[in-house]
Amino acid sequence: MEIIRLENIWKSFGKIHALEGVNFSLKKNEIVGLLGDNGAGKSTLVKIISGVFPHDKGNFYLNGEKIEKFSPKLARQNRIETVHQDRSLAENQAIWRNFFMGRHKTNFLGFIDKKFEKKETLKILQKNLGLKGVGITPDSPVSSLSGGERQGLSIGRAMYFDSEVIILDEPTTALAQNESQKVISFIKEIKNQGKSCILITHNLRHVFEVADRFVIVSRGKTDTIINKADTDLDNLTKILIDHAGI
């Protein structure tokens, strides 16, 4: 089953054509790597899926239904969640607050059920991040987590709230090797949980480890789609260099 289907999507900003007849699809429980040079249109494509921009021309299907009006709020309601490197968490706030940000469990007066939320957060910390008694509690600020752990927290949060599609925007770009490995294992967990993921990255080794399919975006088009089974890392690298060279 296809969760997302984009047919012949066009998007322009003034005179600049960001997307020129793009075709894209995402199946259930699939990880797709979105590759391509800077300015190729990856970011625009993903922003249409997450409701930030409306498309100019073409068809956008979500779970088989055609989408006419969309927004970030509607995207989240349809269980599409985007995780950004630096814009998903507030560093100075406690982990439990970040986890339930915008989705608090409240009573009728609006007061937060802190006990419940802290308990749930602790579970996630121990289960997903494997932090057992390292001095980090639900009350600790996010700044006390490492880069990889923060990504893990964001991904864990998306899954906790039952997202179907998790979009990861450059999740390992600013991380050290060991931290990146943590993130990779979190991404693999997404697949294990039966969810889907769109992964934007420049790091071919990382994407090759986790993705099922690779979509190369080049100059506003997505002509090249390769299944992992049909290629290897060297081959993929060559194809990308070719695209950049044209």
Partner: protein, 319 residues
């Protein structure tokens, strides 16, 4: 140990208060070991403390408000003319608080809708609101003779058991409400995130604009209420109302431990901070120090407190 770590800011400020109190008791036992001075304190602290509570929310939200002395004066003016016309304290309070909220809405409009940075916008509204008020009042003060005979006066400024002024009771109630909101309510959560990382807040579905609007209107309401308390206690309104308050209110917030960067704040700290700042001047005078020392001591207390906070902030502890 965890308790001390978690509440270290609150413990620091409380210790400073106790230290100062002991110092003053030692220097002027006659004044500080009898009840009179505490009743006097409780009658004046709420004027600046109520403002400081509202300002704390504004600062945690990542914004600034310099217009509150003028909003106070405007609300006090409305309180006075409504009372002189109708004789009803209740109506006057409602009108004054509404005026405050309206001024807050003006600030919110300029900052949220038009996009003027809050420091600049509120400097502008400060002059505008104060100027308009003084103009309407023709520069003359208003006497509220008769207010002391009303029941409303008893609710606003009466003395319980001849000792506790009602304005202090109102302050305590407000402190508790704001404490609960900032720490345990969704509104407080939204305020924190807006101040900490507005972009993240937006992505997670928090309406940053609505949160900021809310916070400025609340500040306006607090300013209005403070104006009401002052007018009631003094049974008078002067066009200069609120003028000397600016720096005192800011000092109260910052020595209480709220971070100027936004995202973090402590209502309890602001409450204690207000008490400390208000205590200093009277304590010095009672001890026989020349009035010239007051500002100097303010400075020492402020520098000490904020240095402590900077040294013990989360980042330094390495959490």
């Amino acid at each position: 140990m965890n308790f001390i770590l978690k509440y270290r800011h609150q413990l620091i400020i409380t210790s400073i208060l106790i230290l100062l109190l002991c110092l003053f008791m030692f220097l002027s036992p006659r004044t500080f070991l009898s009840s009179g001075i505490y009743s006097a304190y409780m009658s004046t602290i709420p004027f600046t403390a109520v403002l400081a509570l509202g300002l704390t929310l504004v600062i945690v939200c990542g914004e600034m408000d310099l217009s509150f002395p003028a909003v106070m004066a405007a609300s006090g003016f409305v309180f006075s003319i409504v009372f002189i016309e109708t004789g009803s304290v209740f109506l006057s309070v409602a009108a004054a608080v509404f005026t405050g909220g309206l001024c807050g809405a003006l600030n919110a409009f300029l900052i949220v809708k038009i996009g003027v940075p809050s420091i600049i916008a509120t400097i502008g509204t400060q002059f505008f609101i104060r100027g308009l008020t003084v103009l309407l009042a023709q520069g003359l003060a208003k006497s509220l003779i008769g207010i002391r005979d009303t029941f409303g006066y008893q609710i606003l400024s009466g003395r319980i058991a001849d000792f506790i002024p009602m304005q202090f009771v109102w302050l305590v109630i407000l402190t508790i409400v704001f404490l609960l909101i900032l720490n345990s309510h969704v509104l407080g959560d939204r305020i924190r995130f807006t101040g900490d990382n507005a972009n993240a807040a937006r992505i997670m579905g928090i309406s940053v604009n609505r949160t900021k609007t809310f916070v400025f209107i609340i500040m306006g309401v607090c300013s209005g209420f403070s104006g009401v308390l002052v007018c009631s206690e003094m049974a008078n309104w002067w066009p200069t109302q609120g003028e000397g308050f600016m720096l005192i209110v800011f000092a109260s917030v910052f020595i209480g431990g709220t971070s100027v960067f936004g995202g973090k704040g402590t209502i309890y700290g602001t409450f204690i901070g207000s008490i400390i700042i208000s205590m200093i001047e009277a304590g010095l005078v009672s001890a026989g120090a020349q009035g010239l020392w007051t500002r100097f001591v303010y400075g020492i207390v402020i520098i000490t407190a904020v240095s402590f906070y900077a040294k013990t902030s989360d980042k330094k502890i390495g959490q």
